[in-house]
Amino acid sequence: MNIVEKILARASGKSSVSPDDVVFANVDKVMLHDVSGPGVIKVFDKLKNQGISVDKLWDPSKVWVAEDHFVPSAEKVSAENIVKLSNFTKKYGIEKHFKYGMGQYGICHTLSHEEALVMPGDVYVGGDSHTNTTGALGAFACGLGHTDVAYVLLNGNIWFKVPETYYFKINGKLPDHVMAKDLILKIIGDMGTDGGAYRTMQFGGSGVDDMSVESRLTLCNMTTEAGAKNGIAEPDQKVIDYLSSRGATNVNLVNGDDDAEYAKIFEYELSEMEPIIAKPFSPANTTVVREAPSVELDKSYIGSCTGAKYEDLEAVARILKGRKVKIRTEILPAAISIYQRAMENGLLKIFLDAGVTVGPPTCGACCGAHMGVLAKDEICISTTNRNFPGRMGHIESQTYLSSPLVAAASAVTGKITDPRDLK
């Protein structure tokens, strides 16, 4: 069996499973945020009206709640949703509620790794499509709708059809100017936004072994944009060290068998890679940066679960050190812990000296919610994950998706820029 098959077999109490088997799996961790949380509360209210008991959750210690999409509250509906979430966590005894303005909080997917909330081998589900991110720790991680999350909260399990696995064998080493974001954009460009539909995208090979855990998080994060059920990176000692340094103990890895089967194998050579962007209006609409259209950018946005981890901010600082931005540039670290490290290690000074505005952790303008959305006809380069029409603001705005290095280099020139071409 491969990793995902092993995890699902263990979680469903079976000795082995194969693709297309339907299994009822015990869930290890569940996540809600300020959009899916109120949606789940609504489902609970409906169940209650049907006479179904929603008095207690299956296991509140396995649930955590993030405030990320609409914090800081820009208007009263968002503010009221935060109050609803607080009442919910209080009522059900959920202790892991990461609140805006009270120490560590941030984007839900970022908390999953920063706070070591998910372990390798876990079955982890969340009320958000980018739950896939956390597969980088070697867990089976996928997003669910509100009704399914409500079901898991009450019962602790859910059924899955065991997905087929596409194996991405990544060879070589990332060149200095190329990041994991470039690789995943390349893959999505090659396979299309539904190329991974209902499949696991598994990343392995010497290139992944050589990558940091944070780079693997970027890969798994955007498997969602390829339509995949989940993404997973083959876990190793780096994952153990990463989680242990964040307080986890007894971290055990689940890896595939030598004779594991894959539906398809794709190979990529990192040393041949170049910086890549996705043009409007699809993450699959990719081109190499040096062949990008010459457009006047209005803004560079460095944020989100995809592109504002500590490693991403370090890459941005490498470019911005001693330089000034030419266009409106915002950096929103994805969690307070990242913000704090950025401060301690002098990154914030580099950003502020360059003229950047540093904002609080939030999904913010990535989903066009608030905190720097785009006006009509504005063009943005962004380290986020989606560039559908209107995604980051006005329906007639445009977003180019890129790596943090490219977003920073472009902030300096005001045009889409390969970091190698920066003077």
Binding site: F70, D128, L144, D148, S282, G368, R386, G390
Partner: protein, 194 residues
């Protein structure tokens, strides 16, 4: 949930692929959580201009489709975020059947939780259906779509068919067996997971 009955209606052709949930219901409405009333936000940016006037060139705004319950659209419908609001909008607007060559995974699953029937048919059949001007009939029981010229059969998982036909909701249905589930949990050999 209401039991799913035969749907007899003209189709609304939405000739687009990769329709993502940001287009089905834009982010500014995600803060709202009442399940009803989402219909007016459906395809918001395609239906309304900046002054919130209806755009005459968008198919849903053509009054001949006002009572249509069947949306026929392109590949990978419902991709993007997991927001269940997307399904709530389609349902509240009046759609109960969505036909496409393929659907995004989470969206597909969310449909069944809310009494919408998503049907995958091959590309050629979908293209032909998009040209259909007459009323068609979707018979879930028999798994047949009847058009003026032919009967098209479709596949559906038998469990999903049952929950739609009986108007059962996944959670409600499972919780009818709460006692058995608890007993199984107590006696089960499934290793407890931390």
């Amino acid at each position: 949930m209401e039991p799913f009955k035969k749907v007899i209606s003209i189709i609304t052709p939405l000739d687009k692929v990769n329709v993502d949930t940001d287009q089905i219901v834009p982010k500014q409405f995600l803060k709202l959580i009442h399940k009803s009333g989402f219909g007016k936000f459906l395809f918001y940016n395609w239906r309304y201009d900046v002054n919130e006037n209806l755009k005459s060139d968008f198919v849903l705004n053509d009054s001949k489709y006002d009572n249509s319950k069947i949306l026929v659209t392109g590949d990978n419908f419902g991709c993007g975020s997991s927001r269940e609001h997307a399904v709530w909008s389609l349902q509240d607007y009046g759609f109960s059947v969505i036909i496409a060559p393929s659907f995004a995974d989470i969206f597909f699953s969310n449909c069944f939780k809310n009494g919408i029937l998503p049907i995958s048919l091959n590309q050629k059949t979908v293209e032909k259906l998009q040209q259909e001007l007459d009323t068609i009939e979707v018979d879930l029981e028999k798994q047949i779509i009847k058009t003026s010229s032919e009967d098209i059969s479709f596949k559906i998982d038998s469990y999903k068919k049952k929950i739609l036909l009986e108007g059962l909701d996944d959670i409600a249905q499972t919780l009818q067996f709460e006692e058995k589930i608890s007993k199984f949990e107590r006696e089960s050999k499934v290793p407890s997971v931390l």
